[in-house]
Assembly symmetry: none
Homo-oligomer: 540 residues x 2
């Protein structure tokens, strides 16, 4: 059977930049474009040159890619020719091999919002596409508001697509601009468009997630015959976002009927890097990755229910629809007071601790976990602390060092007209009889105060004597605080995520009525886990 | 045309609790159950009594609801009768009007994971359902792994459903347990099940979001004839979560073909409270609400693109698939904002500040609020701080006192065998040229350390000179901390609730990378608001 080629068009750098709070720098765009190219997408839409100074700069510095670089713009405006439209000229001047222009296809909006006739709209589309083709570029047409337009006045909507096609557009992209069309209707209308004479091999689909159906809508159009799909990494985009390529790509590559009938430019090796690409984008945006994200989320293969955990050990496919490593993700069996002993054994096994099914220590560990959860600890988001608790119970936790005392000071004072805050931490560590004092301030790279936990973290990591080389590549990457119930009192729970130079990421938890001390406890666990994992030898 | 009734089954309290990091307390479950009942769902699945102490306690204290309270459990185990199965008994003993039990329908898993015969599995299902019915309860059957089971051995999967139906199950729920089935297949198999003799009015659908298609899969099953849909608020749930009712409900109520052919127990008035319910759940979980969530996210009706924003003013439907107020959400246009100004006037009026419709200061206040929200402040939950910001902009904020400086120290040290922490705060206040130093420790009534914010709060309230009588009846009653985004950096947002002897309760907010300073800012706002409300006269 010959598989048909499906083309993947990424618009993270253009439509993704419409996300509230997102503004990529040129160097960030370069980094993302390189990652997209390595992933194997076919088109990279880089931005709207002319509409945005960053986008123009980016095209001037765009990296060499195997993917087709595409500039985005809009059809020529009324009352001038395509060659004399300066907005269109700025797009074309970016020099990309492909140019995608958006035009209205909803007659009500053509006449209302644009205030031009149907004929003028068709001319704007046709002459803009022809102009791009005349310059030797590949032309794509984004049919804005297409599904609403088709329902409003099918003849005009279709005429718009035909005008683009006759002028030489390589692709006609059906856009559900306001995101309100449901998958069944997207599939049906796409089939009707193909029946009306636009071949599927020239049809693209562009969905938004306003009803939570952007992925399903894209799949419906592909099932109906569309052979280009547009979307963004992690579903970035205006309002609720665009179709999420991070969810679509694995479905298209791994699931029937798509996997059997279509082929893309993405190899299994590249797919195994998908989780990393998704996290890289969050890292650039300084966002906490969505744990529940399909395929790539940290919880996507996490099994909390005790029943599930025991079934997973017998047959992973029971609760895992794909093997997590296919997309570069990993299985996680977290602890919680819902978990049974099988959960516990699986989690211990993952930490390299083998323990027999009927070992009485299993019940002891569960009791300890339960008691600590009643005090406010939460272990299903803090695997590393869980492992330390279990090891302590099993007598498998070496004592690397002691913190004799610490003192953290937070000060705020007026300095001239300004109010300044500064934190300072002193930590006293004892290792094999040797005492060392370390002091750190809480200044970030920009010289501003980052608070007491920052100071404490730095002081704790400053002088661990024989262990120093193990922890030098460690950094605190996320910090979550929650006021919760510990017994009858409110306490503070702090969860800290740490990373090291080997790409490990681990989470630890601390609980106390004192937020600084809760943080300290989580920091201490983070350091101890790292020493354990690196196989550090306890001194003394 | 007669609309068919569609039943909405919420499992936030059961399957939603499988979310990594989620562990509801009994009082949180009560609060969520009340909100679900007010929303108008038909079933509230409250948990698994017996499997989890919290769930058992919750059922003992469950509120009176119009919705049918449902306890979850599993079919009787092999080798004993339904009446003698203690796990099933614990579920039934919760005394709910309905009981939902899960059973395997995938023959491979029946023989593999359970290690029992097909006949024994059918007996477990039938006798468990019959036992529940015999006690006069409504019985529901969750057909676990149904879609995979149907593909593996259709005869056994169907026999399981028939066994449940013949034993008197009111509902048979098709579960896509590992979340791997795509919407088209869910729709097709649901139709096949109906054709095989299970009527749609007894069929439910339970989807998971592992491919990002849980909403679409649920819609496909409903389109095929299923008349019960299961899901959770905000799509909580194991791994990638369950079908998101917060997205499904508005689609079912507002969109063709569902809105025209089905009716639910949810009124338009209740639907207009959906955004509030969604935010309440995030508040309980101390999660940052997902801005891009369909329908209820803060960005769901935010229009960033300049082109979109101007089109919106001419025709909202161009970029809004539904009117945002339908679901209790609001449009956000980051430039001119008419709706923003009328909201603002209403909030000012609530604080006793009358201001004319066309007062140019309204725009200035909105700008200030917007700028501060970009820095991480949140004024929705901090009306007192909002009032202070508006008053400052209007020149209506007296200056009661200045804090010249403060210093907070947190120490931890060994005292004998014990580890002790202690916090101390020094605050220097200046009132009309008079300087006063106050110092406090952080000891609770039981002599334990309550942390740096406690010490700071006490020191700040210790000597405010002429204002002291106003603040003596003030106390800090709640304290919430969240790590959030301020510009490009993570910052700490602290919200403090205070109360006074007159029964007033007010909320203030502070933001800083330094958690102690964020708390200080919120404390300062709390004191200033109290002085303002008590009509204190500024000295000097």
């Amino acid at each position: 059977m010959i598989r048909e080629r499906l083309f993947i068009y990424d618009t993270t750098l253009r439509d993704g930049q419409q996300t509230q709070g997102v503004q990529f720098s040129v160097s960030e765009k370069v980094q993302i474009a390189r990652a997209l190219d390595a992933l194997g997408v076919d088109y990279i839409e880089g931005g709207w040159p002319g509409a945005n100074p960053t986008d123009s700069d980016f095209f001037a510095q765009a990296p060499q890619t195997r993917a087709t670089f595409t500039a985005f713009g809009m059809t020529k405006r009324a009352g001038r020719s395509a060659a004399n439209d300066d907005v269109l000229a700025a797009v074309i001047n970016a020099g990309t091999p492909a140019v995608c222009i958006v035009g209205k296809t909803h007659l009500g909006q053509v006449e209302g919002a644009l205030g031009i006739s149907a004929a003028d709209n068709l001319d704007a589309i046709g002459s803009s596409i022809a102009h791009i083709r005349g310059l030797g570029r590949e032309a794509l047409f984004d049919a804005e508001h297409f599904f609403d337009g088709w329902k409003h006045d099918r003849a005009h909507a279709l005429a718009c697509l035909m005008a683009a096609r006759e002028a030489g557009a390589a692709w006609i992209v059906l856009c559900d601009t306001n995101g309100g069309t449901l998958p069944d209707e997207i599939g049906r209308i796409t089939a009707e468009v193909i029946a009306a004479g636009i071949p599927g091999r020239q049809l693209g689909i562009h969905c938004h997630d306003d009803t939570g159906n952007a992925v399903a809508g894209s799949l419906a159009a592909i099932a109906a015959g569309a052979r280009q799909v547009q979307g963004t990494l992690n579903g970035l985009g205006e309002r609720c976002g665009n179709a999420n390529l991070t969810a679509l790509i694995p479905t298209l590559l791994l699931k029937p009927p798509f996997a059997e009938t279509l082929e893309t430019g993405i190899t299994p090796e590249a797919l195994a890097g998908l989780t990393r690409v998704s996290r890289m984008l969050d890292d650039i945006l300084n966002r906490v990755p969505l744990r529940s994200a399909p395929y790539v989320g940290a919880s996507a293969f996490a099994h909390k229910a005790g029943l599930h955990a025991s079934a997973i050990l017998k047959d992973p496919s029971s609760y895992e629809h794909i093997p997590p490593e296919t997309v570069g993700n990993t299985r996680l069996i977290p602890m919680s007071n819902q978990a049974g002993q099988s959960n516990l054994r699986a989690r211990l096994a993952a930490a390299g601790i083998a323990i027999a099914r009927d070992d009485p220590r299993l019940a002891r560990i569960l009791d300890t976990i339960k008691t600590r959860e009643d005090q406010g600890y939460a272990y299903d988001g803090a695997q590393a602390s869980f492992e330390l608790v279990a090891r302590a119970e099993l007598g498998l936790l070496p004592r690397f060092f002691d913190v004799t005392r610490y003192r953290v000071t937070v000060e705020r004072r007026r300095v001239g007209a300004e109010i300044k805050t500064l934190s300072e931490a002193v930590v006293v560590v004892q290792i094999d009889g040797h005492r060392s004092l370390s002091v750190s301030e809480s200044l970030g790279e920009d010289g501003t105060d980052r608070g007491p936990v920052n100071a404490l973290s730095k002081a704790l990591g400053k002088d661990l004597g024989p262990y120093q080389s193990c922890i030098d590549d460690m950094k605190l990457v996320d910090f979550r605080v929650r006021i919760t119930q510990g017994g009858t009192d409110a306490v503070t729970r702090v969860i800290i995520d740490s990373e090291d130079g080997q790409g490990r990421r681990w989470s630890t938890v601390g609980v106390s009525p004192n937020i600084v001390d809760a943080s300290f406890e989580a920091l201490l666990d983070a350091v101890n886990w790292k020493l354990l994992r690196d196989g550090a030898t306890p001194v003394g």
